[in-house]
Symmetry: C2
Subunit: 86 residues, 2 copies
């Protein structure tokens, strides 16, 4: 768990080193970096001619797509939950 203190975590994404600073524990940052790296590799395999810059943007697009879908799913579950409580 986070104790509010700033931490620096070194991670490797798509062959590049990054230092991520924040209050999240190292394990969380490593988990995030691993997922980003996996997403980049997956998109890269499907589009081998993309430059790294576009690949990274499309990885962000992919992640935000997943995020919006889950937000919608969460809102539906919350509504169901509420109607069960009422």
């Amino acid at each position: 768990m986070s104790n509010g203190q700033k931490m620096r975590t070194q991670v490797m994404i798509h062959g590049q080193h990054y230092t991520i600073t924040g209050t999240e524990p190292t394990e969380h940052v490593e988990k995030v970096a691993k997922q980003v790296d996996a997403k980049m590799s997956e998109i890269n395999a499907r589009n081998p001619y993309l430059d790294t810059n576009k690949l990274a943007v499309l990885t962000a697009v992919n992640a935000v797509h997943d995020l919006i879908k889950l937000q919608e799913q969460y809102a539906r579950l919350e509504q169901e939950f509420q109607s069960l409580k009422d």
Copy 2:
């Protein structure tokens, strides 16, 4: 809603054009692109010396962080929901 047909949507992210192909409706793709663009601008404002490539990777990191947090929140709500149903 999607009808399973592949669609091509043109979007602009951080001053670059992208063509996103998929079965999602144009409005969804545009919403995703807008959020990615906003995240990139936000990270860019805090780190003006980052190159576009690193900026895009950190944007993906940011989105996956939000996604994992929401997944955890979703799992908790699902558990609560289940215990209310039982």
